[in-house]
Amino acid sequence: MTDQHPEPDRDAGLRRIRRITGIVAAGATGTTALVAAAIAAGVAHKSSTATAAKAVTPVTATAAHNTKKATAAATTASSGSGSSGSSSSSTTTSSGSGSTLGSASAPTTSSDTPVATSGGS
């Protein structure tokens, strides 16, 4: 009497397990594809940004270089010491161009492009 309807319960339970598993499997597969596509889209966006930045970089670097050179020259002229002026000019130029190039080439798609992250997963 206690086991009046054991089979319907069991069958319904098994059906439910299969249904939930199917939903999760489909969701996981779809999510995998979506995430892969999203990563690919993100990488494409970053590389296009980096390309645009690289195209602008030489102009920006030259402009910054010229500005700093002019500033250093003006400082030298006002102070009147030639040796210290030339020394500060060279220092300013090297650090200025370095920082500008560094900021422009910063988004080198660090871990997104396979080349940059060889050895990682």
Partner: protein, 192 residues
């Protein structure tokens, strides 16, 4: 031909990363369902064996996705993860720690699955002891996911990782709470 090969290898690289994230989410689900099974909880009105059945089938599904993650890692020419590094923890030359954690987690998951499939051949206490390794497997897999660094700085991965961590912490706390000795209910009714 070279361009096609490059696109294909990039696709493998993206597939490896995405399958890794989905595997972490599936392992989180397995942990939560494992706690629910141990706590004798039901999924809605379904019988209790449904909870255990879903736990088991999602665990097998997670193994499938771990397999995809591992195969793509080995096949991908950029990842350069050797077959030995996949199974032997900390044997790899590059990123040995983080790849090693992934290998360790994989070994534990494989041990859990095999021991569960052959459960009837194990003594219950031994099987339970092996199954407790699941509590080691998840945090190791979690550390591997964040430590590899491919997407660690991405906001979406942090959100996924945070959600997974919150779910597992809640499941473990739920399990620990159920392990505490329950007070015996005292009847206040006076017998007639």
């Amino acid at each position: 031909m070279v361009a096609v090969g490059l696109v294909d290898s990039k696709a493998i690289w993206y597939l490896m990363r995405s399958s890794g994230v989905v595997t972490l989410a599936l392992l989180t689900g397995v942990m939560v369902l494992g706690s629910a099974t141990a706590n004798r909880s039901r999924l809605g009105r379904a019988p209790r064996f449904v909870t255990a059945g879903v736990h088991r089938s999602i665990a097998l599904l997670a193994v499938v996705f771990v397999g995809i993650h591992v195969v793509t890692a080995v096949v991908d020419p950029y990842a350069m993860v050797g077959v030995v590094s996949v199974f032997v923890p900390f044997a790899g030359a590059s990123n040995a720690l983080w790849v090693g954690l992934g290998a360790l987690s994989l070994d534990v998951v494989v041990a859990l699955i095999i021991s569960s499939l052959l459960r009837h051949r194990f003594r219950p206490r031994l099987w339970r002891g092996i199954h407790w390794l699941a509590y080691l497997s998840w945090p190791v897999a979690f550390a591997h996911s964040l430590g590899m660094g491919s997407d660690a700085s991405a906001l979406w991965l942090r959100a996924v990782a945070g959600g997974c961590a919150a779910a597992v912490v809640a499941a473990v706390l739920w399990r620990l709470k159920r392990l505490e000795p329950q007070p015996v209910p005292v009847s206040l009714e006076v017998p007639a």
